[in-house]
Every structure is written in structure tokens, then in C-alpha cells.
């Protein structure tokens, strides 16, 4: 089965490729479908924000501060009179980008590093593992705060900070997976035939370790969105007046009694998106797990 997965790109006479089987399994689970749909909606909203948002998210109206939701402003207005619905939509862009980009950094750096460490072993493995252990031993948020403070408060830097902090997780994951499949027959076979290590890693090992990486990445996006909110709470993320759900929550907490909608909608947005990514990730894990 692993051999078939390794050549998943090639056309196969069998009707049900593992990928399609996985997709069916995924769609069979209600929670996973929910997750997929919501994520899809979020991504669409984020991509088409300029066309969907009814108002300019930065347009202040001092006469209309903290107005409760009505026909014109479905989500109400914030403390300087900006339309909350538009800010939530545009904020989704920032928060989703924060999630996706930071995890991309973590995967892009962590997986190759982990694969290298797991396959080559020796000194490289020792060094990479010790550094990974050291980074994982420091509380995640502390690392992220320190990095974000060092790089300077901005959404981009927050993404980098979260990405760097999440890298060790993928290093460890990739390394563990490589160690597990290194002794498999098809790898031995590939090596016996004389394939260079790079080729083995890319064509034979990577496709096999991809499933858990995808699962972990999806779950990591969920965590990264929360991390961005936490950094924004401390003032280290998205800078005003540009919106992000986290910084909107930060502002909203002073107005809990006077204008609760300022807190409810961004909070709900975070909750729904993060829940969706979590459910999707769990669904993927079930779907891609060959054992069940």
C-alpha cells in the first residue's frame, strides 16, 4: 500500500486511489465537512474582502461611535465609528494570513530540517535535535513575545515570530516520521538501486510522511490564529488602524458593558474559524490514517 502511495501521481488502473479513498472518508464525517465548509467560506471572505465589505474598514465617523447593530451596520460600529462588519471581514484577512503564513514558514523550514536530521543522523541529527529540544523547552508564548518584540510590532513580524516558534514541532514530527519509514522495504529498495539521498527523500519518503504533516499543519493554523490574537492582545501584532481579530478583541474589552458587539463578533469569528480548522484537522487525521 505504501508503494502505491509513493507513486500516487502516476495513473493507476485501480478505481479508488488512496487519495480519493481518504477524501471519501473525510467527507463521511460530519464534523470534518463542517470544518471544510467553514474554512472555505473564511478563505473566500478573506480573498474577496475588498468586494464584499460594505464599508471602508478604516473610515472613521466621530458622530457614530459605538452604535449598536442596525440595518446600515450589521455588526454595529467601533469606538471611533468604523463599521464592524467590514473590519471583521478585513480582519479575517489578517488573522487567516497570520495563520497560514506562519505555519508555512514552520513547515517550509521545519520539515526539510527534520527530514535531514532523521535520514542522515549522526552529528547533524544531534545538533538539530538538541536545538529543537531547547526551543520546545521554552514556553511557546514567551518565545513568540521575545521574537515579536525583537523584530518590531507588526503583523508580518508576528507571523515570522509565530512561524519560528512553531518550527520545532514540525522538525520533530518530520524527523520521527522519517525514522519510522527509513527501515521500510521500499526505502531499502530505492537505496539498493542507487538513488541519491535527495531523490529518496523527495520521491519516496516525503509523500509518505505528508499525511501527518498535513494534519499537524491544519491544527497548527488553528493555534497560530490564536497566537496572533494573543500577541495582538499584548500589542505586538497588527498595528492600528489596520484590523485583525485579536487587536479588535483587545480594544473591545474596555467596552464590554457599553458596546458588547465590539467583542462578540470578532470573538465569534475567531472561535468559528479556529474550531473549523481544528475539526478539519481531526477529520484529516481520521481520513489519512491508514490504520482506521
Amino acid at each position: 500500500m505504501a508503494a502505491i502511495a509513493a507513486s500516487a501521481g502516476a495513473p493507476t488502473a485501480v478505481h479508488d486511489s488512496p487519495a480519493r479513498r481518504a477524501l471519501r472518508r473525510l467527507l463521511a464525517r460530519r464534523t470534518a465537512v463542517f470544518g471544510l465548509v467553514v474554512v472555505g467560506v473564511m478563505v473566500a471572505l478573506a480573498l474577496f474582502a475588498p468586494w464584499i465589505a460594505p464599508f471602508d474598514p478604516l473610515a472613521t465617523r466621530f458622530m457614530a461611535i459605538r452604535m449598536s447593530p442596525d440595518a446600515a451596520h450589521w455588526f454595529g460600529t467601533d469606538e471611533v465609528g468604523r463599521d464592524l462588519l467590514s473590519r471583521v471581514i478585513w480582519g479575517g484577512r489578517a488573522s487567516l494570513a497570520a495563520g497560514v503564513i506562519s505555519v508555512s514558514i514552520a513547515v517550509g523550514v521545519g520539515v526539510p530540517l527534520g527530514m535531514l536530521a532523521g535520514y542522515v543522523g549522526g552529528v547533524i541529527d544531534a545538533v538539530v535535535s538538541r536545538i529543537t529540544d531547547a526551543m520546545l523547552a521554552i514556553p511557546f508564548l514567551i518565545l513568540a513575545i521575545a521574537l515579536a518584540a525583537f523584530l518590531g510590532p507588526s503583523l508580518g513580524n508576528a507571523m515570522i515570530a509565530i512561524g519560528i516558534t512553531a518550527t520545532p514541532i514540525f522538525v520533530r514530527l518530520a524527523r520521527g516520521q522519517v525514522l519510522a519509514v527509513r527501515a521500510e522495504d521500499y526505502v531499502e529498495a530505492a537505496r539498493a538501486v542507487g538513488n541519491p539521498p535527495a531523490r529518496i527523500l523527495l520521491r519516496h519518503i516525503l509523500p509518505n510522511i505528508l499525511p501527518p504533516v498535513i494534519v499537524q499543519a491544519t491544527l497548527a493554523i488553528a493555534a497560530a490564529i490564536i497566537a496572533e490574537a494573543s500577541l495582538s492582545f499584548l500589542g505586538l501584532g497588527q498595528q492600528p488602524p489596520a484590523p485583525s481579530w485579536g487587536s479588535m478583541l483587545n480594544t473591545a474589552q474596555r467596552f464590554l458593558t457599553q458596546a458588547p458587539w465590539m467583542a462578540i463578533f470578532p470573538g465569534l469569528a475567531i472561535f468559528v474559524s479556529v474550531l473549523a480548522f481544528n475539526l478539519l484537522g481531526d477529520g484529516l487525521r481520521d481520513a489519512l490514517d491508514p490504520k482506521s
Binding site: R29, P139, A149, G267, V274, L279
Partner: protein, 313 residues
Amino acid sequence: MLKFLPRRLLQLVPTLFLVSVLIFGLQQLLPGDPALVMAGEERDPAVIEQIRRQYRLDQPLPMQYLHWIGNVLSGDLGESMRIKQPVSELITAKLPVTVQLATMAMVFALLIGIPAGILSAVKRGSAWDVGANVFALWGLSTPNFWLGIMLIFLFSVKLGWLPASGFVSPFEDWRQSLATTVMPAFVLGNAIAAVLMRHMRSAMLQAMGSDYVRTARAKGLVEKTVVLKHALRNALTPVITLGALEFGTLLSGAVLTEQVFSIPGFGKLIVDAVFNRDYAVVQGVVLVTATVYILLNLLADVLYVLVNPRLRD
């Protein structure tokens, strides 16, 4: 049996060394001069100079690092620049607070995660599965500082059931102590509940499909007995060792939760120290927590092997 143990213990040394370099380096990377932060409103240049000299801030970085690590190895973690108290004193004062919070959080996590995981596995595919999933995951899907503020608002301000913030030691008044820690512990435990649920669920699924359980089912035992006695016992093993590993997550979550609830624990100590550039405090506390984390990981691995007969050799 525990062949890996000596090697792992040996690996502690370079790892901790790297942690120390990492945290020292990070502190130095932070923009901002601690002497200026400590300088007060009036900014007397003479005092700023004196602070720099007293805390060796004018010396080259490697010297500062060596001096610090030398002190650490002889038991001196330095002192807080801000309140002039030894870091070791701060740690011993705040450790019990965070430990109490962490323990209660784990209790919440177990109470939520384990039943949810069982339910989700046993009633797989049904509405119960969905419900259990969402119930366990919602804690992971809400920023903990946010959940904290909402809880304070509901339970302290509107209902008046619980104190809004602060901490009372259990030795002073165990009832008040419980009252001040139940909300932050719930907030912290929520996030971990999700992790526990996932592991419980997959472990249960695995156990339920195993030969052991199939045999019990074939023997004609009632489904419930099968599940509870056999599957559960096997599934709990990995879940319990997870507790140690989630210590890192707990501490990370504690950072903001303690801030919101004004709990004088480690998390708050570190965050304040980072923003005040109180280097010694951050370095000392992170070093201590990193050591504890690594040791707990080791303990978890040992426990895992010990408890699982099949892994013994």
C-alpha cells in the same frame, strides 16, 4: 529495559546549555536598554550609568553570559532589577501558585477530555460524536485571555459568585483559594482538554478494534463492560503520560491567563519581566521551567515504557 535512560540524561546537558544561550540571546536581542527602563521618570544620566555598571550591562555580551551562567551553576540566579529581590526567592514564592493552578487545570482537562474522548469513540459518527468534539475543542478555539475576561464578567460581575481576580494561598483559606483559582484553572484546562480528548479518542478506537477486545466481545460480555473495562484500561496509558508533556502548554497558557486574573504565578512574572527588560528574572525563570519541562518529558517516557509491558524490551 530502560536502556535509553543514561543517554537521555546525558543529552540534558547540551540541551540545557542551548536553552541558556537561547534565552540569554533573546533577551539581548530585545530592543530597549534595561538601564533606561529602570531609570525612572527623571532620567538622571549619572544614575543610568551607575545602573549599567552595577548590572554589568556595559560589558561585552560573552562576558555577561559567562558571568550569569557561572552564578547559576553555583546556585545564584541573580536578582530582579526592578524590585531588588533574588530571583530564586521569587521562584520559590510563585512556584506553588502555578503548580496549584496547573494541577487544577489538569483536573478540569481530565474531567472534560476523557469523557468526551470516550463518547466520541464509542458513539462514532453520531451527533454525540459531534457534540463531544465541539465541547472539547471549544476551549482550544477561544483565546484564553478572552475566555477569562468573559468568565470574570459573567461570574464575578454579573453573578457575584466568584472573586474577579487575585490569589489566596490554600494555607491561608482553602475555600477562598479554590474560589480564586477555579476560573483561571478552567480556562487553562480547556485547551488541554482538547488534546486529551483527541488522544483518548484515538486510543479508544485503537483499543476497541484490537484482538483483546474482540475476544472479550466474542465471549459474550456486555458492550458496556467491554468498553469500560478493557478498552479504557489500555487507552488510559498514553493519556496519563500526556499530562507531563502538556506542562509546556500549561505554562504558555498561564502567561496570559495569569495576566488577566492577576494571579502572581510564573506566567505573569515572566511577561512583566520581559516588558520591563528585567533580564535576570526572565533568564532565571525560563531556565528553571525549561529544566522542569525536560525532566518531565523524560519522566513521561520512562513511565510510558514502565507501564507498557510490550515496550519493555
